[in-house]
Assembly symmetry: none
Homo-oligomer: 264 residues x 2
């Protein structure tokens, strides 16, 4: 069998494949069937990805029922990490693609898996890491999950029949990432200035916490029914800007300074 | 739900999708599980393909066990045609891609799904039709099947783990065919909610003036040599976010509110 090419009947070595450290993570938010998690693991390893993160999987984790459907992607299953919230699962990543239909009330760029793959590779060239966020089988991502995203991941498909299963949705993202890394892949460019780096999601969430604490104290968010949507809309503005670590520090300084505004 | 884009949780209309008459056929040679045939049908219809041909399926055809896994791709299941031999199944087609590892004793070009998609589209422009030939789950294609092919279809994958399941192998071919037919893959595009509109530059500059006045008063911009670059860097953050008129108003509210932060 020719190495590197698809062979439906072939057996694979499952020992010790090491993904590049800047390869993207796959985050499954509230997945239901462990079998589907196993199929996701297989699709990931097919495309050279190994960083699987599970947020509150319905049937618990580790789960033996994921193993057979992974068809030998044991290393992905074994290394999968468990989180309580999507925010924790993405904290160390710099750019998140949320696989969902377009939310009605948020402004987010929409990219195809192919465009996302170019951006993920470009970010990696600048030292950053990305993640793809997928919702569970029945409900998909909720608005709070989507608000963690820098862009919507939308797979162009037959408009008359566009529902993909979870493993196949992951496959389109992972497949494009793998293809974008091949030697004959089109050119791409790094987008970050050398003197800084993309902020991590933890840094971004730290800024959000500071801003929202200040706005709670100053009364801006005092209408409790409106607070969630106001917070989401504000976060969305800064998500879209793809902030650097330096810019996060500047914005934190702005908030602190404004709270010290002189009064008479 | 936005038509044409992936939505894992969405329902689809299954009525009467008509594929272009020159769309390629998918031929499964000695497939085993009817469930996998159903999953192939789903992947096909996701990508706008409907011509499914089955050569000697192990468990007979029609087969009720294909229906549920097709997740509503009933029209593909219902229209699937049955053949005794692969040669009969491809008789009316002009170009065949055989999905297999490269045979040792045949000279055949090897193409990726992306290259094949370009060729299939080009052939269709000239009035010809293509087919993709896939073997059964256990044994794949035999040499006689492969000999029907004009080229080998080889999916570039992780060399350490390159075994795809049948439906995912079909998905890579069908997905690339669909992508190749889209009008120029658009640049990353922003989508605006209906109830708002992109801000004018005057609105943006009005916000900048308010923010910078407040920061002058609060002392943040007091180092005169640094002021121009600090202002530019802050403006750049909000420029990049492509703000809406609504968001400008929200940000103006944030600045005003923060300057009223309670003190003791």
């Amino acid at each position: 069998m020719k190495a590197g090419y698809h062979n439906m009947a072939g057996t694979d070595s499952t020992a010790a494949y090491a993904a590049p450290p800047d390869a993207p993570a796959i985050i499954l938010v509230r997945p239901q069937l462990a079998e589907n998690i196993g199929m996701v693991a297989r699709a990931m390893l097919n495309c050279g990805l190994t960083d699987l993160r599970l947020v509150a999987p319905r049937d618990g984790w580790p789960n033996q029922r994921a193993v057979a459907p992974s068809s030998g992607a044991d290393q992905v299953i074994a290394a999968a990490r468990l989180y309580d919230t999507a925010a924790e699962a993405v904290a160390d990543l710099q750019r998140i693609y949320a696989a969902t239909a377009r939310p009605r009330d948020m402004v987010l760029d929409e990219v195809t898996p192919r465009q996302a793959a170019q951006e993920v590779r470009a970010l990696a060239d600048g030292g950053g890491r990305s993640g793809y966020l997928f919702g569970g089988e029945a409900m998909g991502l909720n608005n709070d999950d989507v608000a963690l995203g820098d862009a919507i991941l939308a797979v162009p498909l037959n408009p008359a029949f566009c529902s993909l299963n979870l493993a196949q949705a992951v496959l389109t993202a992972a497949y494009e990432w793998f293809q974008a890394g091949r030697d004959d892949a089109p050119e791409r460019r790094a987008v970050w200035p050398k003197e800084t780096r993309p902020a991590t999601k933890a840094e971004l969430l730290g800024f959000f916490a500071q801003l929202e604490d200040a706005l709670d104290a100053s009364g801006f968010l005092h209408v409790q029914e409106k607070r969630p949507i106001m917070v989401r809309n504000l976060r969305n503005i800064f998500q879209r800007a793809s902030l650097t670590e330096q810019e996060i520090r500047a914005l934190r300084g702005v908030v602190t300074s404004l709270t010290l505004y002189p009064r008479d």
